[in-house]
């Protein structure tokens, strides 16, 4: 599957392979500042975000809306789900520093063929 999320996240968080950590503060150059001024609030604080394909983590300063988080990571809302625990998080929800969310890509495919089916 084409992890445009992965490609996009690489552009925001640098080229990452495997399980890596990267903090995105409000000063992240690719996007306008969101959330708390000043960016990083210390070691591993902020909203912890798990990304897939490849699996990795980034930390983003909260509070921040889901829509703003996805914009910051250059992800299309139509291509991902945001999951907190076992709950889905809608676009207008606000994420706080202590939150941990997974951004799960939903695009899959490969042998979908031509649609002819036979």
């Amino acid at each position: 599957m084409a992890p445009r999320p992965a490609v996009a996240a690489r552009s925001a968080a640098g080229v990452l392979e495997g399980r890596r950590h990267r903090r995105l503060g409000s000063g992240t150059p690719e996007t306008p500042a969101e959330g708390r001024p000043g960016g990083a609030s210390g070691h591993d604080g902020g909203v912890k975000v798990l990304l897939r394909n490849p699996r990795r983590e980034v930390h983003v300063d909260g509070p921040i809306s889901v829509v703003a988080l996805l914009r910051r990571l250059d992800l299309n809302r139509e291509s991902v789900l945001v999951i907190r625990g076992d709950e889905l998080v809608p676009g207008d929800a606000q994420l706080e520093d202590a939150d941990e969310v997974e951004i799960r890509p939903v695009i899959s495919g490969g042998a979908v063929g031509t649609g002819a089916g036979r």
Binding site: E78, R104, I107, G109, G115
Partner: protein
């Protein structure tokens, strides 16, 4: 809570699950996909769409078994099979399994390489042939696949982009049964990919989230991303594109189908319908016979067509 922008609404879990059931039931009804007493075989990959489809059809009261094909794509296939088995076992459902390597002497990475096919092409060919055969041998009335709205819109986009009129003629949510072919249906065509993933999360269905390592660079994935960019700016565009095609354009491409069907004979080796003496699946098996397993690279794996590493 989930936001579905093309419906311009946020849904609570209960109403979202009801929406998915209603949309599936409507697709089945609108396109005469499955009669209430028919036996259904669901093509199960371990991914979100096929497991959600199996779950939805059971919820709607159909008698459904699953068929899982072991494709031999390294750890990806191992994990996919585990998800399919766990789903079936947890719900007391019957899962039929066919392993390509054990039963036909090849797997997708090595078979694709030996046959000089793109992995997705070899995979699709194998699936179509073996799902047809399993359905007919098992006495099933219909094969159901988890193609969703995004899949169909992306395929339509590709077929229009290149004006594959012969494919446009047959891009339908139902393909009728005929000699040698079971009926094939796509009950998820009214539901998007994001909705199917959400359905699985809300229903506690543990599915294969990782992408197939063979699909990297697949053109249909690029089409999906392009359409999602359109959808982001214009919610509902994918639905309008696909259902507008079915309503207003599909019939215009169907003239060539009858002629093509009349030309089908029987494969001299397996008996499957084919326009050639030996069907494409039997040719793939023949070319892949004895091929050394292709070793997938670390992490996400590799594309054997580009950088194969042949095991010793």
């Amino acid at each position: 809570m989930i936001d579905v922008r093309r419906h311009n609404a946020n849904f609570c879990a209960e109403h979202f699950l009801r929406l998915c059931r209603d949309q599936t039931a409507r697709a089945i009804r609108d396109f005469d996909m499955i009669a209430p007493d028919e036996r259904v075989l669901v093509a199960v990959s371990g991914g979100k769409d096929s497991l959600a489809l199996w779950d939805l059809l059971v919820e709607l009261g159909y008698a459904v078994d699953g068929l899982y094909l072991g494709l031999g794509i390294g750890e990806y296939s191992d994990a996919s099979g585990d998800h399919a088995r766990a789903f079936a076992h947890g719900r007391g459902l019957h899962l039929v399994e066919v392993d390509l390597r054990d039963e036909y002497g090849y797997d997708i990475p090595s078979g694709a390489r030996a046959a000089r096919r793109a992995p997705c092409s070899a995979c699709g060919l194998s699936k179509r042939h073996l799902f047809d055969r399993a359905a007919i041998d098992g006495g099933y009335d219909v094969v159901a696949t988890g193609h969703n709205l995004d899949d169909e819109a992306a395929v339509l986009f590709g077929n229009v982009l290149h004006w594959h009129t012969e494919y446009l003629a047959r891009q339908l949510p139902v393909l009728a049964a005929r000699d040698g072919f079971p009926r094939k249906v796509k009950p998820l065509v009214r539901l998007g990919e994001r909705e199917m993933a959400a359905y699985c999360v809300l229903r506690g269905i543990d599915y294969q989230v990782d992408e197939c390592p063979m699909a990297d660079g697949n053109r249909h994935l690029a089409y999906k991303e392009s359409l999602n960019e359109v959808e982001r700016r214009s919610p509902g565009a994918k639905h309008d594109f696909y259902f507008g095609f079915l309503d207003r354009a599909s019939a215009r491409f169907r003239d060539g189908i009858v002629e093509e069907q009349a030309a089908l004979g029987r494969c001299t080796r397996c008996g499957a319908p084919t326009p050639t003496e030996v069907c494409a699946f039997c040719r793939l098996v023949e070319r892949a016979a004895g091929a050394q397993p292709v070793e997938l690279g670390p992490g996400r794996g590799g594309r054997p067509g580009r950088r194969p590493r042949v095991g010793s």
